[in-house]
């Protein structure tokens, strides 16, 4: 599997097929058992702290459960990493944070704490927090799975707007309409392996593998 600069790739597959695990392994949150990961052509050594730091400064992940820092307000959640960890100048970070939060429609909730927000709002804060680091690539791990159906659209709309920015994305999603529209490539996984890769049309409309056909047939009938 390969994600090019500015490309949007979707990972689909049944529950337990290893999609989220793959994202976590790529992020260095889980150990890599077999195989190798290359970034900009070079193999990533996850045991090397400097290499891992470099990887994590290029890639940001948004979790299914948002994982916003509960002890910080919305604006602090977005600002803490750039100011405290990266040590970027506070003024610029703040401007960027406010700009990002108004972009995701939350400019009026800057001083709210995460548990005062709805799931959809929290997820949009999490997206703003990821973008505040100006990553080259974004991992989205089933970001709508924990949301009410009504809130799904507001989050997907945010992602749709981002997709025109030219930031690469690796998306785990069960929203097939969204996957079809946005991604240039779809990867189907089952039982921890990649079964089939292709354009959205190839995978969703004319899958070759039997396992893909079975999954796609079930999920599109909804």
């Amino acid at each position: 599997m390969c994600v090019d600069e500015g490309e949007i790739v979707s990972l689909i597959g049944p529950s337990g097929s290893g999609k989220s695990t793959l994202l976590r392994v790529l992020m260095g949150l889980l150990p890599l058992d077999k195989g190798s990961v290359r970034m900009n052509g070079r193999i990533v050594d996850y045991a090397d702290k400097a290499a891992l730091r470099a990887l994590r400064s290029d890639i940001a992940i948004v979790f299914q459960q948002y994982n916003l820092f509960q002890n910080m307000t919305v604006i602090d959640n977005v600002m803490v990493t750039p100011t405290k960890i990266r040590r970027w100048p506070r003024k610029e970070v703040e401007q960027h944070a406010i700009q990002l939060l108004s972009r995701v429609g939350l400019s009026d909730r800057l001083r709210a704490y995460p548990d005062e927000l709805s799931g959809g709002q929290q997820q949009r804060v999490a997206i703003a927090r990821a973008l505040a680091l100006k990553p080259k690539m974004l991992f989205l791990d089933e970001i709508t799975a924990a949301l009410d159906p009504e809130l799904v659209d507001e989050v997907l709309e945010t992602i749709r707007e981002l997709s025109s920015d030219g930031i690469a994305m690796l998306i785990v999603s069960h929203e097939m309409g969204f996957v079809r529209k946005l991604s240039s490539k779809v990867v189907f996984m089952a039982q921890g392996r990649i079964v089939e890769t292709g354009t959205p049309q190839q995978i969703l409309d004319a899958p070759v593998e039997a396992r893909t056909r079975e999954f796609v047939g079930k999920i599109l009938r909804h």
């Binding site: 949150l29 979790f63 509960q70």
Partner: protein
């Protein structure tokens, strides 16, 4: 029957004051050392690295043992250990060491529980955002753990302050011993122990209040 003013001489009052200050000293040392070293122990036990493994094991045994030995036994152990080294420590110093050792063992367990109560997702998010272990603790985990730590910690310390009375067993002139001396001098026991009771209350009540105030300040989300 003599009035309290007549029966309490200057020296009696001085003895009570010494007792009060000694008990206060033990209480403050216990709280201070308990929180300081308790945090250190708890945080060291959250580390994962191989190099720290022997230290983690030692701290585990320390917490396991000290929390299962009666206060008095620990006190006597430290007392005789200090005597055998001929360091010439005063009994008050022995009591201070013991109080620190015990408070650290208990509070480190309370603090560890608090740290572990923070959702794993918070660690994960911090790691993905390139926080180091210490930065994650400082900015994310400890601020959230405080709210869980504080109520049982205050509860423990209030109980613990009363237990410092056991220091009288190795001859430390703290509040309870002072009461005993005054009683033996022939002062009315009800009067003496009534005063002692009041003084213990005066020491531990502010702690409870302080705990309450800190708790309400830490409630960072209003709708919880």
């Amino acid at each position: 029957m003599p009035t309290p003013a007549q029966s309490l001489s200057y020296y009696d009052g001085r003895l009570l004051l010494i007792g009060l200050l000694t008990t206060l000293g033990l209480a403050v040392a216990g709280c201070g050392a308990g929180f300081l070293f308790g945090f250190a122990v708890a945080i060291l036990r959250t580390t994962r690295s191989r190099a720290m493994a022997p230290l983690r094991a030692a701290l585990f045994v320390y917490c396991l043992l000290l929390r299962r030995i009666p206060f008095l036994v620990t006190l006597l152990l430290v007392f005789f250990a200090c005597q055998s080294t001929n360091a010439g420590l005063s009994t008050f110093a022995v009591a201070l060491i013991t109080v620190g050792l015990i408070a650290t063992a208990y509070l480190s367990e309370i603090i560890r529980g608090g740290l572990e109560s923070v959702h794993a997702g918070q660690w994960q998010a911090a790691r993905a955002l390139n926080f180091t272990h210490w930065q994650a603790l400082r900015y994310v985990i400890v601020p959230q753990a405080w709210r869980v730590i504080l109520p049982p910690a205050v509860g423990f310390l209030v109980m613990f302050i009363k237990d410092t009375a056991l220091a009288s067993q190795i001859g430390v002139m703290e509040l309870t011993s002072a009461g005993k001396v005054l009683g033996n001098k022939g002062l009315p026991s009800m009067l003496v122990y009534g005063m002692i009771l009041l003084l213990y209350f005066l020491i531990s009540y502010p702690l409870t209040r302080l705990g309450r105030r800190a708790e309400s300040k830490l409630a960072f989300a209003r709708n919880r």
